[in-house]
């Protein structure tokens, strides 16, 4: 009996062996799924759909990428699923948001960290900005901070949740200005946080540059400052926080890109790392992103690994004070 089993196992190995060896050469053989840990219609979802739209072309992967949304708790639901349950076979990709998932892994209570994911490439960088309602009395960050100094803990401002880029920006602002603020996380994400600002429920808000740009164009908000090292091409007139005298770097900038779970075959990772950035560089993709007001920042796998490590160090230091 044992002999029989051994023989069967051998035969099976002989059959599957060669299949495995050249199995990845023909990758991908079927449509690929990409998980987005935010709801359909959000900035990450919207951009993910655009940057993957050319995946089916012959010069790209030759197979379409389907977007699957797993929203909840600021991205934790989706990334937790991705780290613990997703199959590492190259057919399950995910969008990442840095600093969100790194900050959440440092804060704890989730089953992922930078070690559980393998980055493929980065497509976008969306800085956080400080917005106030169009009829607000604040005209600069100095006004905001002056108000906060008079009313410690009384300056309410909205953001997309706890331990996401907006929250990091809020913490940096508190630290740099030396004031206490009332950060109100919104359960409906960036859109809900923006609504709260426009409706006057809060005095101000931190939001995505891409969404704020649109809201300003619609005449609903004023943008007072950018949480980045340099001014943004979409908003050349809006000064950075540093220009306004607050020592804030780009730790809160929302980097978006593609990753796979740890354990994905190296050949698959290499192929994706080679092809995916070229998808992002596609002219049609770039023009759609530009039209939608979404700033792009294409980075290769090696650059992203470096960026993750740098963010990890910065965020550990920033969140240690909490």
């Amino acid at each position: 009996m044992r002999k029989w089993i051994a023989g069967a196992a051998l035969a099976l190995a002989a059959m599957t062996g060669p299949a495995l060896a050249d199995g990845h050469a023909s990758y991908p053989e079927r449509p690929i799924m990409m998980m987005v840990s935010y709801g359909a219609g959000g900035a990450t979802d919207f951009q993910a759909r655009i940057v993957t739209m050319t995946a089916g072309n012959e010069d790209a992967l030759g197979m379409p990428i389907a977007i699957l949304n797993r929203p909840g708790a600021g991205g934790r639901v989706g990334w937790n699923w991705f780290a613990t349950e997703a199959e590492a076979d190259g057919y399950t990709l995910a969008a990442y948001n840095v600093p969100h998932f790194i900050a959440q892994s440092i804060e704890g209570g989730v089953s992922y960290s930078t070690d559980d994911f393998e980055p493929i490439a980065n497509w976008g960088a969306d800085p956080a900005v400080f917005v106030v309602g169009a009829d607000s009395e604040f005209d600069s960050m100095a006004d905001v901070v002056a108000y906060a100094k008079e009313n410690p803990g009384g300056l309410t401002f909205s953001g997309a949740g706890l331990f996401v880029g907006h929250h990091i920006a809020a913490l940096q602002l508190e630290k740099a200005a030396g004031v206490k603020l009332a950060y109100i996380p919104n359960n409906a994400g960036g859109a809900g946080a923006m609504r709260a600002v426009i409706a006057g429920e809060v005095l101000g808000g931190v939001n995505n540059l891409s969404d704020a740009f649109r809201a300003q164009a619609a005449g609903n908000v004023k943008i007072l400052g950018v949480f980045d090292l340099e001014r943004n091409a979409f908003l050349p007139d809006v000064p950075t926080m540093k220009e306004q005298g607050f020592d804030i770097d780009n730790a809160s900038v929302n980097f978006r890109g593609v990753m796979v779970p740890k354990g994905t075959p190296q050949e698959v990772i290499d192929r994706l790392a080679e092809v995916v950035p070229t998808m992002f560089e596609n002219k049609r993709v770039q023009s759609r992103m530009e039209a939608g007001g979404s700033p792009m920042a294409i980075m290769t796998r090696d650059e992203v690994i470096e960026m993750w490590a740098a963010r990890q160090a910065t965020l550990e230091e920033l969140l240690a004070g909490l």
Binding site: R30, P31, M33, P64, A66, Y91
Partner: protein, 154 residues
């Protein structure tokens, strides 16, 4: 009211009350406390209402709900077993389409009143199963591109 529904009501409402009390206990003891403000509120109301229902059941004052007759339990048992095996084991282990084909065929055969002895009955059952699976495959695999677990065959 006969005694069968009454004892069933006591068991059912007892189980619900136990769940209510358990989640209330968890809500009041787990950390971080600020994440449990809302669960505390609802689990308290839950527990109170569940205990009320339980007390009413014990006193025999339950007004609504017929319970489950023995006949119904016997009749549903095979179908329920097939359903549970299908959903919790076969769908993943055998692949969606294989498991659904088998479960569908068994269920139709189990509950179809037509006599089992005629060939015509079986041809009809196979045709219905094949038709349903074709529609499912066309809708989910072809039109919507859903990649379901596939282990055996497809």
């Amino acid at each position: 009211m006969t005694s069968l529904p009454r004892s069933q009501h006591i068991i059912a409402s007892g189980l619900i009350a136990a769940v209510g009390v358990t989640i209330a206990y968890i809500s009041y003891t787990q950390e971080p406390a600020e994440a449990y403000v809302f669960p505390r509120l609802i689990s308290s109301v839950f527990a109170v209402l569940a205990i009320w229902t339980f007390v009413k059941a014990v006193l025999g004052r339950t007004k609504v709900g017929n319970g489950i007759s023995g006949d119904a339990m016997l009749k549903m048992a095979p179908g329920l077993v097939v359903t549970l095996v299908y959903v919790f084991w076969a769908a993943k282990a055998l692949g969606f389409y294989t498991a659904t084909t088998i479960a569908f065929f068994i269920l139709v055969s189990l509950y179809d009143p037509a006599p089992h002895t005629q060939l015509k009955t079986w041809v009809k059952r196979i045709a219905i199963t094949a038709g349903f699976m074709l529609v499912m495959y066309g809708l989910f695999a072809q039109l919507l591109n859903v990649f379901t677990p596939r282990e055996t065959l497809f």
